[in-house]
């Protein structure tokens, strides 16, 4: 009897170690896969950076970096061609700035409403709708801008044409709104309840609590939301290509027609022969654009990290 028992325990032990070994093997395979997946993302990123540098840098042998950045003449198909991207750079900054100025107050207010004011049922209904807004293809937004918004902007500001930076900026504001709303809503949600309770206990109204307690506590999260929205606005292409007007002058006012860096790349890369001067110049524009969005996204990441650390004690 005792011997049988011993045999059984031994058998159980063996099967247990086998199982553990098998588990360990499976785990190792999965670990390997995950490692490869992570590695792949890094390899792809490095590959893109490498190609951008390889295709873009040679242009600086033709045009000095100074002339390239601050030149105001972009004539890629002329003979000899000139490549000055100042008009695109200024347009991108101007449109992004205006889009941000429009989107931030609306977005943050919407987030505050959703997280602090709205009854739960209303908030649950509105949040998915805002997120659907993020899923509208940018060409559709461009179409809406072309057909609906540009005549409106034209008559409201008595312009010669509704195809201008302002129209593009309003469309971009609409497109970056969902990101700003959902990230700032998360940030506001993460503000500990005690903060708000303390505020109410001191006799503060709802408005005072939101303005003096919730928003300041969630400020780094909101800042990250804004930066992510800015990143979206800088990189957006199709909409600005369709509604920004496409003039090559350095814009003086937001109501001027203009071409952003993304639109310049999209409208020029098709007829650029691989390896030609225009091709290299457009890759160099891409390089600058990439540096710009990378900076914005990294700062957003940093700020978001700080917000997280603030509330995990």
């Amino acid at each position: 009897m005792a011997m049988l028992q011993r045999q059984i325990t031994a058998a159980v032990k063996v099967s247990e170690t086998r199982l553990r070994q098998r588990l360990r093997l499976g785990e190792r395979v999965i670990e390997g896969w995950i490692f490869l997946a992570g590695l792949l993302a890094i390899v792809v990123l490095l590959g893109i950076i490498f190609i951008l540098f390889k295709e873009g840098l040679p242009i600086f042998a033709y045009t000095s970096p100074w002339e390239f950045l601050f030149g105001t003449e972009w004539c890629p198909v002329s003979d000899p061609p000139t490549f000055g991207i100042a008009p695109f750079f200024v347009s991108t900054l101007m449109i992004t700035l205006i889009a941000t100025v429009i989107a931030v107050p609306v977005g943050v207010a919407c987030a505050a409403y959703l997280s602090e004011v709205a009854p739960k049922r209303v908030a649950e209904a509105i949040k998915p709708i805002v997120e659907i807004l993020a899923g509208i293809p940018s060409v559709m937004m461009g179409f809406i801008g072309l057909a609906l918004l540009s005549p409106l902007v034209q008559s409201a500001f008595k312009l010669n044409t509704g195809l201008c930076g302002l129209t593009a900026a309003i469309m971009l504001a609409l497109m970056s709104l969902p990101i700003i709303v959902s990230v700032s809503e998360d940030a506001l949600h993460a503000v500990p309840r005690e903060f708000k309770e303390a505020s109410y206990a001191l006799g503060a109204t709802k408005w005072e609590t939101i303005w003096h307690v919730c928003i300041p506590s969630a400020l780094s999260g909101i800042a990250a939301a804004i930066l992510l929205g800015v990143g979206r606005a800088i990189g957006e292409t199709m909409t600005v290509l369709m509604v920004a007007g496409g003039a090559l002058a350095v814009p003086v006012s937001p109501t001027d027609p203009m071409t952003t860096m993304t639109a310049a790349i999209a409208s020029g890369i098709g007829n650029a022969v691989r390896g030609g001067l225009q091709y290299q110049a457009l890759f160099a524009v891409g390089l600058i654009l990439f540096a710009l969005t990378l900076t914005v996204n990294i700062s957003a990441e940093r700020v978001l990290e700080r917000q997280k650390r603030k509330f995990t004690r």
């Binding site: 002329s78 003039a247 090559l248 002058a249 350095v250 409208s267 020029g268 098709g270 007829n271």
Partner: protein
């Protein structure tokens, strides 16, 4: 017949059929209904409506042929031809010597066939009182020297000059023949589009902008002109008669900014591509040109 041999029968027959159709397409006297294969046509936005109808008709007559037409712009077409990623490049401008050099460097030998002509039409809003302009005036509009319709006999309103972007063959043709006034005593090769000109990604967008904007001016192939816009009668110089763009005025040479629409292939076309281009040049194909609003190669009425 055993089962295993039957399994081989169908693929074998297919292979034989394919081999024969392949042979046939190389014979000039082949029956046109036996062509098969696929053709890719990339290039001019202007030529696209024409190529699409040709492609449709040709595919109807030759069900085994598939033709894909896309029109991002002549420049894109020529770049695609040089990079070897299209069979036919459709273009609304002639290839430049620089592009030929680039092509030769990549082992591509551009072969040119003119398939139709186009009267490049200058269009304005229906409410615009201006109805004729000289090439010099057009040049002044597009270089930014003239900025108000008042200076051209119109109302006191700013001119919104619109053009196609640099992908477009029309952009290049218009720059050379109108902005730089090619062939006129006032010709100046250093002139460029003014930097207030709006560059639009497609011809359709420009035509619809002009239809809705009383101060806009744009140019488009004759095939794109609708009855919602007004064409401008163009004078070569102030002393010449004003001529409206039309099939007739382009054919008899009185309209001064008409241009060839061409196909480029890598070397002389053969096989199914040759058959397709032969169809385009045939009497039937040229009838399509007229229906699409373009100018056929010779008058056939």
């Amino acid at each position: 017949m055993s089962k295993s041999s039957r399994k081989w029968l169908v693929p074998l027959m297919l292979a034989i059929a394919l081999a024969f159709s392949g042979c046939n397409s190389n014979l000039p006297s082949a029956d046109s209904s036996t062509f098969s294969g696929s053709i890719k046509i990339v290039g001019s936005n202007t030529v696209t409506p024409l190529s699409s109808v040709w492609a449709e008709n040709f595919m109807k007559a030759n069900p085994k042929v598939s033709i894909a037409v896309s029109g991002p712009g002549s420049g894109v077409g020529i770049a695609s031809l040089i990079d070897g990623i299209t069979d036919i490049c459709q273009s609304s401008r002639l290839i430049t010597t620089k592009e030929i050099e680039q092509a030769k460097a990549k082992g591509v030998n551009p072969y040119e066939v003119q398939v139709a002509s186009d009267a490049l039409s200058v269009i304005v809003n229906l409410s615009n009182p201006v109805s004729e302009l000289t090439i010099e005036q057009l040049s002044a509009i597009y270089t930014g020297k003239i900025t108000n319709w008042k200076e051209l006999g119109g109302i006191d309103a700013p001119i919104v000059a619109m053009a196609r972007d640099t992908n477009s063959g029309t952009h290049v043709f218009f720059k050379e023949h109108v902005v730089q006034m090619y062939g006129l005593p006032t010709a100046d090769k250093t002139l460029e589009y003014g930097n207030k000109v709006l560059f639009l990604p497609s011809t359709e967008e420009g035509v619809s902008q002009v239809a809705n904007n009383p101060n806009a001016i744009f140019y488009a192939g004759l095939g794109y002109v609708t009855d919602k816009v007004k064409t401008i009668a163009v004078k070569r110089t102030a002393g010449d008669p004003a001529v409206r763009p039309s099939v007739d005025s382009a054919l008899d040479g009185t309209y001064s900014i008409s241009r060839p629409l061409v196909y480029y292939t890598n070397g002389a076309p053969t096989g199914v591509i040759k058959a397709y281009i032969d169809y385009c040049l045939s009497e039937e194909g040229q009838k399509v040109v007229l229906e699409a609003g373009f100018v056929p190669l010779t008058k056939r009425r």
